[in-house]
Amino acid sequence: MPIVTSKYRLRVNPIACDAFGYCAELVPEIIDRDEWGYPILAEGPVPPRLFELAKRAVRECPRRALFLEKVPVPSP
């Protein structure tokens, strides 16, 4: 089992997003939808156990609006 060394967080391009909602269906633990169907992403890095699902959600997005981004490591 590879060790996830980098932390990633989910982000959405709000211009591309068209509220299909696949992401919220696939990873409801960290993606919710607002009253108009647009995604509300939880803050912080994606929990390791949900990482594969998060990648799938990124792949499935019909508008390619969802993406994973390396969480900037805060400088000490």
Partner: protein, 440 residues
């Protein structure tokens, strides 16, 4: 277009006279007056390779921050753009999307040559090969001023760069950097999504640096007089002067130049307060309300931030106690919702819903859950657009709920104050104005 359009009054007796000096002293915008007031433009000599770096260092030492609204340190922006950028473009942002601001209009019709001087200096320093001055398509005065000045410079053999005037559509968000560049690149003037705000904007792979007109005017003065001179007035960490647009119940509304750090109350007093003021909208329509008790706050980034406000686009729009802050905010929110570029769901739907809630509140029509719903929605809209537009509205509305708290409670209980149906003070489009109530 605007319900009440302040005349571009630029009183010639002024508190500070740097950027507007030529206008104050001569009342004319032509090149002779400009050169008579400021002297020649200090252009680099041939082969002076370090000139650009010295200019950037001077700007840094002077502590100049962007006057377009973001307040970013200008030198840092210049430094990031230096290096041999072949075919870079310098865009002068004089779009003035804020309806309550007239300073770009004052600059371009009163002292266009100072702005163009600054543009040339910056273009030289960053290695740009082209200057594009952007004036909204509904601002005829500014356009004429630029056009005339460009013609004069060409005639006097002073243009060292190809410089042209462009007229992008005049909407609230079209002055946003990425929207402006998108339009210059040939598309609609929609703000762009950038994963990393640091990546350079480009037009067909040519990098574009965008600076506001006022910032460039200050650069032109720093190049002539040096950073030490720049710092002789101003506020600690906020040196120099800036342009503000004063409106509301004052005898002399209009654009004036003030030293940073002047208390807001003094700025208003100099404009001649004509009625008791309940609050002042500071920054712009994406700014915040300042209650009357805090008008002693020095007008500078630090002190304003301490009270939850910011300099923004230099708007100082007061409303009298006879006006209704809730109604004014509702109209502005409606206007801002209509000015959304329509690209992001949370902005389009969220701002519309927030505006509707506010209109109901202003009319006293709201249900018992209105405030709760409004607060929840504000939290939902914030940070979920591609640009800062929705965030500005959230900021404005939250400050209104706080500053006009008493009125808000009355309105929420169906007792709107007397002023809600009055003529709007803050300029908005007619459709936004009537959303709340008729005005006579």
């Amino acid at each position: 277009m605007t319900a009440t359009e302040p005349q571009v009054a630029v009183p010639r007796r002024a508190s500070a006279s740097r950027v507007l000096a030529a206008w104050h002293q001569t009342g004319r915008a032509d090149i002779e007056s400009h050169l008579a007031t400021h002297g020649p433009l200090p252009v680099p000599r041939r082969g002076d390779a370090g000139w650009g770096e010295r200019l950037v260092r001077d700007v840094e030492d002077a502590g100049l921050t962007g006057r377009g609204g973001a307040g970013f340190p200008t030198a840092r922006k210049l430094q990031a753009f230096r290096g041999s950028h072949k075919h870079a473009v310098l865009a002068v942002n004089a779009m003035e999307g804020e309806p309550a601001s007239q300073k770009d209009r004052a600059l371009l019709s009163g002292v266009p040559h100072l702005v163009l001087d600054g543009a040339e200096l910056v273009a030289t320093a960053i290695g740009a090969h082209e200057i594009v001055v952007c004036v909204a398509d509904d601002r005829a005065d500014s356009a004429e001023g630029v056009h005339g000045a460009l013609g004069e410079r060409a005639g006097a053999g002073l243009s060292r760069f190809p410089a042209r005037l462009e007229r992008p559509p005049g909407r609230y968000v079209t002055g946003e950097e990425s929207a402006l560049v998108a339009w210059l690149a040939g598309g609609p003037a929609h703000p762009q999504f950038r994963t990393d705000k640091g990546t350079a904007l480009t037009i067909k792979r040519r990098p574009v640096l965008v600076h506001s007109a006022e910032t460039l005017a200050h650069v032109a003065l720093i190049a002539r007089h040096g950073p030490a001179w720049f710092r002789t007035v101003g506020y600690p960490d906020a040196p120099g002067t800036c342009l503000v647009t004063v409106s509301g119940p004052v005898a002399n509304p209009g654009v004036c130049e003030v030293e940073l750090g002047t208390p807001v109350a003094s700025i208003l007093e100099r404009a001649g307060i004509s009625a008791p003021i309940s609050a002042v909208l500071v920054g712009g329509y994406g700014g915040t309300w300042l209650r009357s008790g805090l008008l002693d706050t020095p007008y500078a980034p630090g002190p304003l931030a301490a009270v939850g406000s910011a300099v923004g686009a230099g708007v100082i729009a007061a409303i009298a106690t006879s006006s209704c802050g809730v109604a004014e905010t509702a109209r502005v929110a409606t206007y801002m919702a209509n000015e959304s570029a329509g690209q992001c769901g949370p902005c389009v739907f969220g701002l519309h819903a927030v505006a509707q809630d506010l209109v109901q509140l202003a009319r006293g029509d709201g249900d018992s859950h209105l405030l709760q719903r409004l607060t929840h929605r504000l939290g939902g809209v914030e940070g979920r657009g591609a640009c800062g537009h929705p965030d500005g509205v959230v900021r404005l509305v939250r400050s209104a709920l706080e500053v006009f708290a008493g009125d808000v409670t009355d309105h929420a209980h169906g007792r709107p104050c007397a002023g809600w149906n009055r003529r709007p003070i803050l300029p908005v489009s007619p459709s936004a104005a009537v959303a709340v109530g008729r005005w006579h």
